[in-house]
């Protein structure tokens, strides 16, 4: 068989074809020649044939029979063969071939090939290629049991044999781990992968640590126990200097918390909260609250943990943690005295952290009697008098550090103490002072409380008594409270409405709801008003016709919007066209500018103009119109009355 023609020859020949049919014929002939050449297992010209095949593939002809040949080229020793082989593999390979065994073979050869200077990096042969092949194996093995099984051995081999002293080796290991995680590998292999990640965590290079933490985060859902084994290393990463590593370690730590390790983990996490950057504090605090809620071993521990969070990162906690915390405290009945004591002590130290202050003032308002009575089982009871407590609460009211919301909390707390303390006069004085506060919220509260003292004093004890245990309703709670809030403003008769006071934010919710309601009603009125009003011809004389079309103006149903269309049926244009209108005294008229002042001849176009008529008394619409224009060189002027308005336009 003669030597196959060269690639350039083929390209030249194909370009001489004058029709598509001619081209197809040439291609088919050449394909047949190439196919028989492949069958003969000809090493010398395989490269050339595959190159020609690639050209024909680019023209759009089928070339899948060359896929196997590409793999043979890749395995060849000659560089030219390899180059064309890889190009062919990139362009031709698809899912029709079963590739995994071949790729495994190639990967094995690469690893075993020893030193090849042009392809290697730090003693590892062609890492770019190894990683690419691993990625391809990952894609092929995802969800496919057979392929995954075929590649198990090679993955284990790569994982154990690769040198890890340099970054290159670690890069290959990383890709291997990702592949193992994504395919359906056996459990032994997965444990190997996680152990590799664990080893990464101890590496000095922070990139590798970061990569390990990210991968562990992905696998913690599926291989929870295996990752738990590395928990202490992960927790140590919390103390790392690098910000990204700290964040990953924090996320991973939260994912690893469970009932068994909660106490130890929480200690570490609280320490982390103390020392971390402000950006982390919010997320960390939320995470701690969630974890504490799920796994708290005891109520006291839970409350202690929350106190610790509030005192260290108090200004960074989310807004909804305050009501959640209050609910938690209310429900732990036996801890009331302990809680209020600790909160009081915290207040003495620092009144700048608003969530802490809000919770503390609420608790003091609720349980102030326990505070002054000095009965606490959990710890040493402190001696504090009613006046001291009131001093602290009043201090909150006047301090510049207190947010308006906090002031509200503290005023209500003072009021509640009027039924628990004996120094009622002092409380009355404070409340009456704030009756003229600039802050409207405070003023309203003070005025209502004043009214309570003066006119409804008999109801005061019942109103301000101890809160009942609240049902834990995550989403239902605020909605209920919003509905009752409207009534609270007018009559403060029912104890059950007190919860609304601790959630001032919900008042805003109600107003938003009501305005949405009105908008909805607006839409309804709009729909009923915009019925279709038929157009009418207002003027038709001397070849000029003026038609009126109607609309209702949106915000005001008393305004009729009329659009005039003026057309000209004569053979000459009407230029300098001006339309004027007058209405009776009870109406108001607004003329907007016309589209043009030339009315083209023979109805080729029209001039439009918008008129707005306000008709508040809903009288029958009448109009006098005056037209002026120039027609065939001479000026024309005309007056007319328009009385045939349809009734819908003014009713």
């Amino acid at each position: 068989m003669p030597a196959p023609i060269r690639l350039r020859e083929l390209i030249r020949t194909i370009r001489t074809a004058r029709t598509q049919a001619e081209e197809r014929e040439m291609i088919q002939k050449e394909c047949a020649a190439i196919r028989s050449s492949f069958r003969e297992e000809d090493n010398t010209y395989r490269c050339r044939n595959v190159a020609k095949l690639l050209y024909m593939h680019m023209l759009g002809y089928p070339a899948h029979f060359g896929q196997l040949e590409c793999l043979k080229l890749i395995a060849s020793q000659k560089f030219t063969d390899k180059r064309i082989g890889y190009l062919g593999a990139m362009l031709l390979l698809d899912e029709r071939q079963d590739l995994v065994p071949q790729l495994v073979r190639i990967l094995k050869n690469l690893i075993m090939s020893g030193y090849s200077p042009e392809h290697d990096v730090s003693g590892i042969s062609d890492p770019f290629l190894q990683v690419r092949i691993l990625r391809l194996l990952r894609i092929l093995g995802k969800g496919d049991d057979d392929s995954s099984e075929a590649m198990n051995d090679i993955l284990a081999q790569v994982a154990t044999n690769t040198e890890t002293s340099k970054n290159v080796g670690n890069a290959i290991l990383y890709e291997t781990v990702l592949t193992i995680m994504d395919i359906k590998s056996e459990s032994g292999l997965r444990v190997l992968a996680i152990n590799i990640l664990g080893r990464f965590l101890l590496n000095n290079d922070k990139n590798i640590r970061y990569v390990a933490l990210t991968s562990l985060l992905k696998t913690v859902q599926t291989d929870h126990n295996a990752v738990q084994r590395h928990r202490s290393t992960i927790v140590d990463c919390l103390k790392d200097l690098d910000v990204s590593i700290k964040r990953r370690a924090m996320e991973l730590s939260f994912a690893l918390v469970n009932g068994n390790n909660i106490r130890g983990m929480m200690k570490e996490l609280l320490y982390f909260l103390d020392s971390c950057d402000p950006d982390f504090k919010a997320d960390c605090a939320s995470g701690i609250f969630l974890a504490a809620e799920k796994y708290a071993p005891s109520k006291r521990w839970h409350i202690d943990t929350i106190m610790r969070v509030l005192t260290t990162a108090g200004s960074y906690v989310r807004d909804d943690s305050v009501p959640n915390l209050i609910q938690l405290i209310t429900n732990s009945v036996e801890m009331h005295a302990y809680t209020v004591q600790r909160l009081y002590k915290a207040l003495l130290d620092d009144i700048s952290q608003q969530p802490l202050v809000q919770v503390a003032s609420w608790c003091i308002g609720e349980y102030g009697d326990l505070l002054v009575s000095g009965q606490c089982e959990e710890e040493e009871p402190i001696q504090v008098s009613e006046d001291e407590v009131l001093d602290v609460l009043e201090g909150l009211l006047v301090s510049n550090l207190s947010a308006p919301v906090t002031r509200g909390y503290s005023l209500t707390a003072i009021m509640k103490l009027s039924t628990r303390f004996s120094s009622v006069n002092r409380i009355k004085k404070v409340v009456s002072i704030y009756g003229s506060s600039i802050d409207v919220e405070l003023q309203q509260r003070a005025v209502e409380y004043n009214a309570l003292f003066k006119k409804y004093d008999h109801m005061r004890p019942a109103l301000l008594e101890r809160m009942p245990i609240m049902e834990k309703t995550a989403t239902n709670g605020p909605a209920e409270i919003v509905q009752t809030n409207g009534e609270t403003d007018s009559t403060i008769l029912d104890t059950k409405h007190l919860p609304s006071i601790i959630q001032p934010a919900s008042q805003v919710g109600l107003s938003i709801q009501s305005s949405a309601h009105f908008r909805h009603l607006n839409n309804l009125t709009m729909y009923s008003a915009s019925k279709c009003i038929p157009p009418m011809t207002a003027y038709n004389k001397n070849g000029i016709k003026i038609e009126f079309t109607f609309e209702r103006a949106n915000p005001n149903p008393n305004i009729a919007v009329i659009t005039i269309h003026a057309t000209n049926s004569t053979e000459a244009d009407m230029t300098e066209f001006v339309f004027q209108a007058a209405v009776p005294k009870t109406f108001q008229l607004q003329l907007l500018s016309p589209s043009s002042n030339v009315v083209p001849a023979l109805n080729q176009g029209s001039v439009t103009q918008v008129i707005r008529v306000l008709n508040p008394q809903k009288q029958q619409l009448r109009m006098r119109v005056k037209l002026t224009y120039t027609h065939k060189g001479s000026p024309v002027q005309d007056l007319a009355e328009v009385n045939n308005f349809p009734p819908q336009s003014w009713q």
Binding site: R6, L7, R8, I11, R15, T44, Y45, C47, R48, A51, K52, L54, Y55, M58, L59, G60, K78, F79, T80, R83, I84, L87, L91, D94, E118, I139
Partner: protein
């Protein structure tokens, strides 16, 4: 990342196709057909960017060839224009005053140059000298082996 890069003539004949994501044969043919048609009808002075399905198509005409690529939503189109220009410069540097015929007859070299420049849809080598050097080294490797084995190149 870039999803694909296509080179085609003004008559719509494909000169180079590089896919950075896995597509089936049918999808590839459809994409080529649709994109080619869309780009060829564009008037000369119009904007170089198009929206097609969920991709941004960036194209530019150099002499008789259209260089066209499909980008994801997060990619920078202006930078991609620079990228296409850089590819043309690399081709020009290699072939010396490149024209469409060079790319037709040496399509495998065009692929090799592209692979030195872009991997996985992202630029991997920003140095022109580096790419030129790699191509030179690879070519010299080819020559010496062929000479030694006394076999003609394809």
């Amino acid at each position: 990342m870039m999803r694909f890069l296509l080179l085609f003539s003004r008559q719509g004949k494909l000169r180079l196709q590089k896919w950075f994501m896995a597509f089936s044969d049918r999808d590839k043919k459809k994409i080529i057909r649709d994109v080619t048609q869309m780009v060829l009808v564009r008037p000369p002075k119009s904007c170089n960017f198009l929206q097609w399905r969920d991709l941004k198509i960036v194209y530019r005409r150099y002499a008789s060839l259209y260089f066209c690529c499909g980008l994801e939503q997060g990619d920078n189109e202006l930078l991609t224009l620079e990228l296409l220009h850089r590819y043309v410069e690399l081709l020009d540097q290699y072939f010396g005053n490149v024209c469409e015929l060079d790319i037709i007859f040496n399509f495998e070299k065009a692929y090799f140059i592209l692979d030195e420049f872009i991997i996985g849809g992202e630029v991997q080598e920003t140095s022109k000298a580096s790419v030129a050097k790699s191509m030179e080294e690879a070519d010299s490797l080819q020559e010496t082996m062929e000479e030694y084995l006394n076999k003609p190149t394809y």
